[in-house]
Subunit: 329 residues, 4 copies
Amino acid sequence: MISLGLLGAGRIGQTHATALLGREDARLAAVHDPDTKAAESVARRTGARVTGVEEILADATVDAVLICTPTDLHAAQAEQAAAAGKAIFCEKPIDLDLARARLCAERVRPAGVPFMLGFQRRFDPHFADLRARLRAGAIGDAELVQITSRDPVPPPLAYIQRSGGLFKDMMIHDLDMARFLLGQELQVVSATGAALTDPTIGAAGDIDTAVVTLRAAGGALVVISNSRRALYGYDQRVEVHGARGLLAVENVPTTAVLAAGAEGMTRQPHQPFFMQRYAEAYRAEIDAFLALIRGDDVAVPGLDDGLAALELAESCQSRARDLRAKTGQ
Amino acid sequence: MISLGLLGAGRIGQTHATALLGREDARLAAVHDPDTKAAESVARRTGARVTGVEEILADATVDAVLICTPTDLHAAQAEQAAAAGKAIFCEKPIDLDLARARLCAERVRPAGVPFMLGFQRRFDPHFADLRARLRAGAIGDAELVQITSRDPVPPPLAYIQRSGGLFKDMMIHDLDMARFLLGQELQVVSATGAALTDPTIGAAGDIDTAVVTLRAAGGALVVISNSRRALYGYDQRVEVHGARGLLAVENVPTTAVLAAGAEGMTRQPHQPFFMQRYAEAYRAEIDAFLALIRGDDVAVPGLDDGLAALELAESCQSRARDLRAKTGQ
Amino acid sequence: MISLGLLGAGRIGQTHATALLGREDARLAAVHDPDTKAAESVARRTGARVTGVEEILADATVDAVLICTPTDLHAAQAEQAAAAGKAIFCEKPIDLDLARARLCAERVRPAGVPFMLGFQRRFDPHFADLRARLRAGAIGDAELVQITSRDPVPPPLAYIQRSGGLFKDMMIHDLDMARFLLGQELQVVSATGAALTDPTIGAAGDIDTAVVTLRAAGGALVVISNSRRALYGYDQRVEVHGARGLLAVENVPTTAVLAAGAEGMTRQPHQPFFMQRYAEAYRAEIDAFLALIRGDDVAVPGLDDGLAALELAESCQSRARDLRAKTGQ
Amino acid sequence: MISLGLLGAGRIGQTHATALLGREDARLAAVHDPDTKAAESVARRTGARVTGVEEILADATVDAVLICTPTDLHAAQAEQAAAAGKAIFCEKPIDLDLARARLCAERVRPAGVPFMLGFQRRFDPHFADLRARLRAGAIGDAELVQITSRDPVPPPLAYIQRSGGLFKDMMIHDLDMARFLLGQELQVVSATGAALTDPTIGAAGDIDTAVVTLRAAGGALVVISNSRRALYGYDQRVEVHGARGLLAVENVPTTAVLAAGAEGMTRQPHQPFFMQRYAEAYRAEIDAFLALIRGDDVAVPGLDDGLAALELAESCQSRARDLRAKTGQ
């Protein structure tokens, strides 16, 4: 029986706590959140006790921690947990600052504790299925990868301002997806963006629409396009074109209802946002984390993956800035 | 070079005339229609001469006739054309009256001329592809056939009154399709209908909605459902469920445009009606007729198919009437 | 906090127990199953105690029971639970024998306890969405309903022999769906079946393929087709054609992966079977049962629905037998 | 009655000749091709006379010419036809050399004859429908355009060597499509390519896979991706994401057949190549050319469109070369 402590009882922390319910191999033992009500609600639903971060880390019966706190706490808490010998599940990113993230990795690695970063899309059954087929050779070598990722609505400006910008906050998932699917390192060929959905986003120095081209070590071209706004739901598509065919993940509709009338055949909007679209992925990543702790042979995104995605995002950001400086675009 | 005469220059006659344009193996030599303007328009577009039915049948240089006149002329004209030794393409049905249709068949057969009935759906590339796969064993034995056929709007009441009723006018195509796909004779298990779209149809003694169940000689069950009205276009679907899978023909949209918004993902309505949906079928059936005349090994619907479909339609009609008499349904 | 007892810790009992995890408004207090291991496994996962049926019914702290035992125990246990004043969730059917089911209803009704029958499809979000649109007038009056329901593989012969036959075991869900969607009573117009997938099913006196036509009180025609075998997954489709359009529930694929190659564009098979296809429905029906116990205004399938569906299934069965007797079909 | 002369009786010339059959407002009067058999075949099918280019241009009864000759003859023949006062339909491109194309435009313009360039995709009913909706404001301002264009198989090496390279031969259609849809000028942000499908293409100095990013005058980002090989047919997709939704053109399947089995639900490959996919577009562009000659208010691609697309293609080519020179990519 693996015993876990939860740091942060917000939306994602609650999701992970739910994934631990009813298991015979693991249980949530403790939860901390400065918002006591949030922590107590998780406690009531799971039987965990409400306590402090230090208590959780000092508790020898706690095997692992789930770091679901605000981003600027991730690195320090991961370091403390590593020092305490706990297995670590850390929501992405390690840190918005690449140097700080690298430092965290340097400090955590020597502890030798199991570490997993919350790139949940890797555990989405749709993307995982695509990757398994690709790896099994279903379409030969990948040649052209297209990732389309669009949020339903732009986040509040306050969020944008703390987010690290579109490339680090949003496209980082797609950059990780490209690395995950291809199993190859990538180089940025070009990056460009624009503030088209909301002028206040541009005024805040960020963009809401972006296109990035990359080249994989094996030669494949990768295009990622992002938008912060899509009226038809959370648009999450990937396609990999290869020598012997194509593999794609299409969008997942809210329901399988078709409504037909004079205007045509209308299927339902995509899942509203990531909590719904990746509900199964969140459950599966907790399964993977428990397997990692048990020492099973399971592939999970780690510190290197977190750093690599962050480096790509930073490279995109500086390319887009250079372009803007040079051409005004 | 095969030389053809066209009897009837209405919509369907014009379609066949167009299919003969630019061919090196056939040409439309003559056209007749009591509506001289219609005949002259075909003549201008094709180079055919406008003339009378008797002249066409008496013209030794005319190899074949296309009978595209009103239904009540079909049988007599087919008999005359057979007597004149012409190859015959006759729009369906032979006649609305089964006894008259049988008489026509008895009179035409001895002439030994090539005869083809215009069950154009057999030449639709979609249905023909399904049938070829079925015959090639793609899904093993057929077990359950579902044919869904819905017109976009009910015809005018005047048409309904002369139509012979839904079973003979509309479902006859689906009954022929079931025979065509399965290559087996069918028995009617049950037939029922209702006047739901327009009370004047019911008042005229006809129905606009119907469901028929049949059983094929090989054991497969067949369900056909019809409606005279579908706001989303001309609904033409077939599916054959078999021991090793399913083959279906889905609807053909007017365009491949997808429009997405808050209400969902909207694809275009189906083709508006049979002239558009079966445009390719009309061309292909003329190809088949010319091949038949040349003596090629080509399967076309003939007199027996016309009689068999009409017998089934009549059986449906009497079953539905019996049910109504017995139960008021 | 609602306290529940579970009778029967098999597959479906476990599913309901899981749906109760982590709730702040309800908990599984007790579980019984003659298979002690199954009961203990549920107990470990939920904190419920393992005990006997009598103890559960006698326990004043238990508010409700979930009857998930074999079919032939349903009626008696429902009667005992009603006598004990418990709210009752009972898996369908009440009983395979219509007279016994009616007797059960007569005995349970006077107790006035909340009663819900496990027609889980009513809680499927797809069908519920279709129904809500239909009721809101999206397509006007329903005219033609087509329900297609195919299991992936025939059940073992031993199951078939105890099942009550295809109409009571399988089509009963579709008959309930038609009543649920239309909100009208139905009359059987015709029913026919065949044993096509496996001769041993026919030898056992059952069928594996069936087509039923019904007529709703409001005039709509309903067609239901069933097969016990579909290689491409659990085929669960409904479409309602109305005066102003069509509403359908399409199949739900196992994943959103598209694989394209020389043979075409291949999407994934449907969900494998009912436990996967209706996973959300099983959760939602427990929500509804809890709401029913709380006295919320919630519509659930009750005793009358169970009887009505069973009566229709029995009517189908006798129609199909009569037809076979008369025509050998 | 408009009288036309056809220069070049190859595949595309034959297609245009067929589009003129049976019209009451136009006829093919003359045809020239150095391959006499090809010219004679067209003549037999259409009634046109076989003659020489000079004769056609000198014939005062010929109103217009269709230039369907090899690319290196386009510019000179267009100039001659303009000098002869003929209306001109010219297959794209004007010339592979931008300077030569500009010179041609300078020489043709003063003649004031109707001129239309064969960017047939503008007349595809699917793309035209998308554009009409976009222009009507269906999704507000365009923000992100994705054009995916993949040929089924790479052309022969001999063709590649004379083609002007992927950007001028293949992507030029997509560059024109972006201009057509947005009605705005574009600037190339980045262009990159690779030879992945066939090493001989790379050895010949060309590429077979490419990704280009552009920015429209109004701010929208445009991504175009090309591949010379797709096993699943001719992949032709466009999507325009805007402030209030998305408009897309999806691929057109060869037939509407669905084949389902254990491996999933397989729909048919896309249309095999441009002659099939754009069959309707070829007919519609001839309609548009005739309307242009008649002086109707019809928008057709002209000399400026030809030059603009060629300039963009040349800009892509030089960007991709610079990138390769700088980074070896």
